[in-house]
């Protein structure tokens, strides 16, 4: 490797690792004395009921978002690729809107719009918040899935499956889904990362989620906040790592090869 490449790689690495390292050192200091080194902050986090409670809410919200997104977007994108490819640019445009509209504008609009809707929806994270997160995850889901569908020959695979007697649901579950698995996983983990870290919408609509808890700890207890930040960072990376592992399995490569026509 050229010396300049090593230099830039090191610089990039430092940019990435120094904040982590300092946060780690910070998180080892005692909350009472401010001195190094103790694991008490980590223990505090682990033994904090709110941590587990909000983590569970956010994680379940993420799963709900993923399930709803996949249930809506996979058949939709499949149908668009198969029957109305002209609509693809329209979908791509729609998918950009959540990027363009700031979350604060979106949440105010959604709160106004759904005012007066039944309590089980409006007052529950599983209703209102999950709906907002599906919108937020739309771009990530759409572009991941679209790439997946483009890498396979949707038409031929569907027709081959039909001619062998399959209904379209069988085709979707047995033929199409396994071949866009990597794309669906990629979209899912992006959605997971977004939901696990989303603050604005949850805060403005007054739901108590994991990012709200982090922010609360951040404001009230400095050293445990460092520990909490690192732990949530670790959770996100664990999710990314599992994506890499699952994505590497068989089937993924086959889909790419078959699509290379």
């Amino acid at each position: 490797m050229a010396p300049s490449a090593v230099f830039w790689l090191l610089l990039g690495g430092l940019y990435f690792f120094i904040p982590l390292l300092t946060t780690f050192l910070f998180s080892l200091k005692s909350n009472q004395t401010g001195k190094c080194c103790t694991a008490a902050n980590y223990s505090w986090v682990i033994h904090n009921g709110e941590f587990w409670h909000t983590l569970k809410i956010s994680f379940l919200l993420a799963l709900e978002t993923i399930v709803i997104s996949l249930a809506i977007f996979v058949p939709t994108i499949y149908w668009v690729h198969l029957k109305v490819p002209k609509l693809r640019p329209v979908l791509a445009f729609l998918a950009l809107i959540p990027f363009v509209v700031p979350p604060i504008v979106m949440v105010v609009g959604l709160l106004k719009f759904y005012q007066g809707s039944p309590n089980w929806f409006y007052a529950q994270p599983w209703g209102f918040l999950a709906g907002a997160y599906v919108i937020l995850a739309f771009p990530y889901m759409y572009f991941s899935l679209d790439a997946g569908f483009r890498s396979i020959d949707v038409h031929t695979l569907t027709e081959a499956s039909q001619s062998l007697g399959a209904r379209w649901t069988t085709t979707l579950f047995k033929v199409i889904l396994p071949n866009i698995r990597a794309a669906a996983l990629a979209g899912s983990f992006l959605a997971l990362a977004i939901v696990m870290g989303e603050y604005t919408i949850a805060n403005l609509s007054a739901f108590h989620t994991f990012p709200i808890f982090i922010q609360y700890v951040n404001e009230t207890q400095g050293f445990p906040a460092g520990a909490l930040t690192l732990m949530s960072f670790g959770i996100t990376w664990a999710a990314m790592g599992s994506l890499l592992l699952v994505g590497r399995k068989r089937g993924t490569r086959a889909a790419v090869v078959a699509g290379a026509r």
């Binding site: 031929t156 001619s163 062998l164 033929v175 086959a254």
Partner: protein, 366 residues
């Protein structure tokens, strides 16, 4: 009674008439090739039979049952596509097994049938490989086994060899024919390759502009083309424009004695069709004999046992296939006399401008 009938099928795409009244009757166990240049409607016809598309008018009847409005997954048609139709997430065995699983066949039956079929296509050893681990030819064999697994009413093949290289293509087409004869399965085969169509079919239908120009046995199509288009499309043909005169056809200042011309009215514009292998070529010796056109050899194309000569002269443009040994004595630039046969030549009445045959890309798309 015919087993497969396409009755007056029409299909328009916007202003384009993709199919303009197709009529086909095919007996059980017969092999029909739909042959034509891209855009002639052959693939559209096949897709209508498969059920992937619906006709604007007409009917598709198989074994007495009208399938025109039956969904593709209820038709029992085995289809082999151009390429890349194997399910990438399944092994060869699972691909072949797919249709049987959907039909709820029990495990033991499935396994036996899949093994038998993979043996039949010569891939018993590759059952557990994924499509990306198979060559193009092997993939198409698996696709064939998969289509046959469901014991289809009709086997549909949509240019299954067009993505393969020449040697595999010849090998595989012979195998398709062998398997088709073995199983006695009614087969519809779409191709733009006339050699392929002529070599494996019981019947060939040449299509152009959404219509069937001519349908017949390969030998009939070759020796007795009914239209100028078929004459041009099937094999290589000399097409000499001329006018009927007493005792023959006037072409390039020479009266050709053509038997077929004797029944035609004088003054009629006709096309004389002569296969290159029926043209006799020798050195020009001054005087011109009967049916002799004189010109210079301008190109020689080596085709193995024969060499194709292109002969150009005043108003003369003839292609002749001569034995390669003989061609050695007729190098480029030699002045030669080409003698056309009086009996083998066919006459077609010239009604309109001849259609131009578009170039076919190596891998045609639908």
């Amino acid at each position: 009674m015919a087993y497969l009938e396409l009755q007056n099928l029409h299909r328009d795409f916007g202003t384009v008439k993709a199919l303009d009244g197709i009529e086909i009757e095919l007996g059980e166990g017969e092999f029909l090739s739909l042959l034509g240049p891209s855009g002639c409607g052959k693939t559209t016809a096949l897709r209508l039979v498969a059920g992937f598309d619906r006709p604007d008018a007409g009917a598709i009847v198989v074994d007495g049952k009208n399938l025109t409005n039956v969904a593709p997954n209820k038709r029992d048609m085995g289809m082999v596509f151009q390429a890349y139709s194997l399910f990438p997430n399944m092994t060869a065995r699972q691909n072949v097994e797919y249709g049987l699983r959907i039909r709820g066949k029990d495990r033991a039956d499935r396994r036996k049938r899949v093994s038998d079929l993979l043996e039949l296509v010569g891939l018993g050893h590759a059952a557990d490989r994924y499509p990306h681990q198979l060559s193009g030819g092997m993939q198409q064999r698996v696709a064939l086994a998969r289509a046959l697994a469901i014991e289809p009413r009709v086997l549909l093949l949509d240019e299954p060899l067009s993505a393969l290289d020449a040697k595999v293509r010849v090998q595989l087409r012979e195998e398709i024919r062998r398997i088709q004869l073995d199983l006695g399965i009614t087969t519809l085969y779409v191709t733009h390759d006339q050699e392929e169509a002529l070599s494996v079919s019981d019947h060939v239908a040449v299509m152009y502009g959404g219509r069937i120009e001519q349908m017949g046995s390969p030998a009939e199509m070759y020796s007795a083309p009914a239209t100028p288009f078929v004459a041009e499309f099937i094999g290589t043909m000399n097409r000499l424009e001329g006018t009927v005169v007493d005792g023959g056809v006037e072409h390039a200042g020479t009266t050709l004695r053509i038997e077929a011309a004797q029944e035609r009215p004088r003054g009629e514009r006709v096309l004389v069709l002569v296969r290159p292998e029926t043209v006799e070529v020798g050195p020009a010796n001054g005087g011109s004999g009967v049916n002799t056109l004189v010109g210079n050899v301008v190109t020689q194309t080596f085709l193995g046992p024969v060499t194709r000569l292109k002969i150009l002269g005043e108003g003369v443009d003839v292609i002749a296939d001569v034995p390669t040994q003989k061609a050695l004595s007729l190098p480029v630039g030699t002045r030669v006399a080409a003698v056309l046969p009086a009996e083998g030549a066919r006459l077609l009445v010239l009604k309109e401008d001849l259609p131009q045959i578009p170039e076919e890309p190596a891998s045609a798309s639908r």
